[in-house]
């Protein structure tokens, strides 16, 4: 399983764009990159998933360079309610089995 490294914490202000970068140097060919968001005392919630280049949905964008050794989650115009912990996970279901490893996530604080 590819190990991931993220910043421990980040601060931002409402209305700003936030970019959280995750390093995964040992990513395998079949691995996908998935980001989850977790609020206190709640289960993690899926945000976005990608394999290469760029993926965008109604919540965020995910940028993955050609070497796939890192990825960047981009949250446009954050609000106070985006204050949460963000986790980057790397793995593949059929080759990596069914073991999911959450690394140390990034604690995002959005200020007014």
């Amino acid at each position: 399983l590819a190990k991931t490294t993220q910043p421990i914490s980040m601060d931002s202000y409402e209305g700003q764009e936030v970019n959280i970068t995750c390093s995964h140097n040992n990513i395998a060919t079949n691995d996908y990159i998935t980001w989850y968001q977790q609020f206190p005392s709640q289960g993690p919630r899926f945000i976005i998933q990608g394999y290469k280049t760029k993926v965008t949905n109604e919540v965020a964008s995910l940028f993955i360079p050609a070497d796939r050794k890192s990825s960047t989650l981009s949250l446009p115009r954050v609000s106070l309610s985006d204050t949460a912990v963000y986790y980057c996970l790397v793995g593949a279901r059929n080759t990596g089995g069914f073991k999911t490893i959450f690394g140390a996530g990034t604690r995002l604080f959005v200020k007014a």
């Binding site: 709640q42 912990v85 080759t95 069914f98």
Partner: protein, 114 residues
Amino acid sequence: AAGVIQSPRHLIKEKRETATLKCYPIPRHDTVYWYQQGPGQDPQFLISFYEKMQSDKGSIPDRFSAQQFSDYHSELNMSSLELGDSALYFCASSYGQGAQETQYFGPGTRLLVL
């Protein structure tokens, strides 16, 4: 849309007692995961089941066991409870398409061991 259901939502036990946590996955999901999250910590993978068979084990103590039943619901059995077992326990379910997978998490069971 249907979500993952966990019961009970809160549980208080004494040391050395047993506890059983239940998880009802989203219909047609074939995989169930169990996680433990202590205060201020990141989720720790305990065990997973694919099509009712145990598929992977993580940092699950020997005092814990789990199974998935014919209706796909899963139960985590915890015996000889210790103070350190106090945590949030999450269940997640998924349905994979090849290598891709999204896990859907339940609301969690908060266990307090006194």
